[in-house]
């Protein structure tokens, strides 16, 4: 069964259409990544799933229940890691977990047990009595993830969980998310980091301008859109290469050539070409689909 089924979901803020008809599914036990540039409609989509933003049109089901009918029993099964740090500033680290647990109506002893293990899981045990305002950015993110897990949800929504963190903190969070996957949890993730998506997601939905551009596994998307190898060739482009019918994209100062067989391009480069060759990745897919221009 799909945990999330979105059909043609739309959201308008006055005249502005933030989401223009998005379809996607999150099958049980998988990790789905929602990728897109800033303003693509990712956060709005997440908020609609959580019932924090009403749909303008379309159908959105969470655990098979229409989102406007979602109640206590469904909410108990979802954990949300929002993009903003909305920890309770008046409470300590431990209180942030325990009081949050009480919102789910859980038993006191169970909450305490969960808080203990989550503080340990997120390496926050030493900070448990600190006020949250005294935590670093990375610790706050870890606490927010721990908070989302307090009721042991089956489905966890993560809106840019590692944005703004240092590499160490990101690795720690990735590890914990992989552990959640091992436990069979369903994850829905938005991120700007393609390596993060490639590492964690089974399936990727690329959105831009409030619409889905394409979806598939990271491998499928790479081989479909950018082959195995990328050559970034500086202009002027050697004549032989320019005449060839190799799949390419002009990005201003240079041209990107996408090929499965590197020799095909190498043979056409000539002696004086300046270029860089590398194995293609999800970032190439992303840039190819959403364009190379800055958005905001």
């Amino acid at each position: 069964m799909a945990v999330i089924e979105a059909q043609n979901i739309q959201k308008s803020f006055g005249e502005f259409k933030a989401v223009k008809g998005v379809d996607f599914q999150v099958p049980e036990g998988t990790c789905v990544g929602l990728l897109g540039p800033n303003g693509a409609g990712k956060t709005t989509t997440m908020r609609m799933i959580m019932g924090l933003s009403a749909l303008t049109a379309g159908s959105l089901k969470v655990f098979g229940v229409p989102v406007d009918k979602v109640g206590r029993s469904e909410k108990m099964r979802i954990g949300l890691v929002p993009q903003e740090d909305n920890l309770d500033p008046d409470l300590s680290v431990r209180q942030n977990l325990e009081i949050y647990g009480s919102y789910f109506g859980l038993e006191k002893s169970y909450i305490k047990e969960r808080a203990d293990s989550l503080l340990d899981f997120m390496q926050l045990s030493e900070k448990e009595d600190n006020r949250v305002n005294h935590l670093s950015g990375g610790m706050k993110r870890r606490l927010i993830i721990a908070r989302a897990l307090i009721a042991d949800p089956e489905f966890v929504i993560l809106d840019e969980p590692t944005t703004g963190l240092d590499p160490q903190a990101r690795v720690l969070i990735w590890k914990s998310l992989l552990k959640l996957k091992e436990q069979g949890k369903t994850l829905l993730l938005t991120t700007h980091y393609m390596d993060e998506a490639q590492r964690l997601c089974d399936n990727i939905v690329i959105v831009d301008g409030g619409k889905v551009l394409d979806e598939g596994s990271p491998k499928e998307l790479i081989s479909k859109h950018v082959k195995n190898n990328v050559f970034e060739v500086q202009k002027p482009i050697p004549a032989d290469l320019e005449k060839s019918d190799i799949d390419h994209e002009d990005i201003g100062d240079s041209v990107l050539y996408y090929v499965n067989d590197p020799e095909k391009v190498q043979g056409l480069l000539g002696k004086n070409a300046t270029y860089m060759q590398r194995v293609s990745n999800l970032e190439d897919v992303f840039l190819r689909l959403t364009g190379h221009k800055l958005r905001e």
């Binding site: 803020f13 959580m50 019932g51 924090l52 933003s53 009403a54 109640g71 206590r72 909410k75 108990m76 979802i78 949300l80 929002p82 903003e84 909305n86 920890l87 309770d88 500033p89 008046d90 409470l91 209180q95 009081i99 949050y100 009480s102 919102y103 789910f104 109506g105 908070r147 009721a151």
Partner: protein, 257 residues
């Protein structure tokens, strides 16, 4: 049911933890200012005014200060306090991602802030008692639950104004155009019956005036007109129910649309 008792209980606990941590800040904000008003006006102006409504000025003033104290508490709590929680720290969003719902948050906010006033009222009456300004101790104690309920009404009104205005900068309008006029023209400091007719009519607009009509005789140890109590109760309850529904709809629009 529209409200979830389980959710309200959980939120109450959270508010209580915050209150316990900030109890001295609440004390200074809620009580000390009112005590200063009471002493300054009671002892200062009280010297010039010999008797009012058949009692010493300070005795007349005590129930007024008590009844009016909640207006300020509820205004700050339902405008700045609420705004900070849904826009500033964003914790309403985190609560709404759990089984807690908007209506549970709104009612908890009003109940907790209204209850918070009870200890403040008690302290005010103790101070007034030492100035010999509480003729009926029993009556004064009985006004505390009434004033807690009155706070719910003051609160729901400023809650609506706050969410309508939306931005903290605009909350000064509420202070200038609602809170202060209500405090100054409802008869906290003077006997409305002795004012010009237009002022008497004007006073009718404010819930505080109607609350004072009930509370002042109680503290003064005078008989209370039960008919007017009943009418006031019905009117104030109606204001609360309609006010709560409108606030709920306003917040739904602001948060979810």
């Amino acid at each position: 049911m529209f409200f979830s008792i389980l959710n309200i209980k959980a939120l109450m606990k959270r508010y209580y933890i915050e209150y316990r941590q900030l109890v001295s800040a609440f004390f200074f904000g809620d009580v000390l200012e009112r005590i200063m008003f009471f002493i300054a006006f009671g002892m200062g102006l009280g010297r010039a005014v010999s008797q009012i409504d058949g009692v010493d000025y300070i005795t007349f003033l005590a129930p007024g200060i008590a009844a009016g104290s909640g207006v300020f508490i509820m205004n700050i709590a339902t405008t700045y306090g609420v705004n900070n929680r849904y826009e500033g720290s964003g914790i309403w969003n985190s609560w709404l991602s759990t089984p807690i719902r908007l209506q549970d948050i709104l009612i908890s906010e009003l109940i907790f802030d209204s209850l918070r006033a009870a200890p403040s009222l008690f302290i005010l009456y103790v101070v007034a008692y030492f100035f010999g300004a509480v003729p009926s101790v029993e009556g004064a104690m009985l006004t505390i639950p009434i004033l807690v309920l009155a706070n719910m009404v003051y609160g729901v009104i400023t809650l609506n104004m706050g969410v309508y205005l939306g931005r903290m900068l605009y909350f000064r309008y509420i202070q200038a155009l609602w809170v202060m006029p209500m405090y100054l023209f409802s008869g906290v400091f003077f006997n409305i019956d002795e004012t010009p007719e237009w002022m008497q009519l004007f006073a009718n607009v404010f819930p505080l005036y109607h609350v004072l009509e009930i509370v002042r005789p109680m503290v003064l140890g005078r008989p209370v007109d039960m008919n007017s109590v009943l009418i006031s109760f019905i009117v104030l309850s109606a204001i609360f129910v309609v006010g709560f529904y409108v606030a709920y709809k306003q917040f739904q629009k602001r948060l979810f649309d």
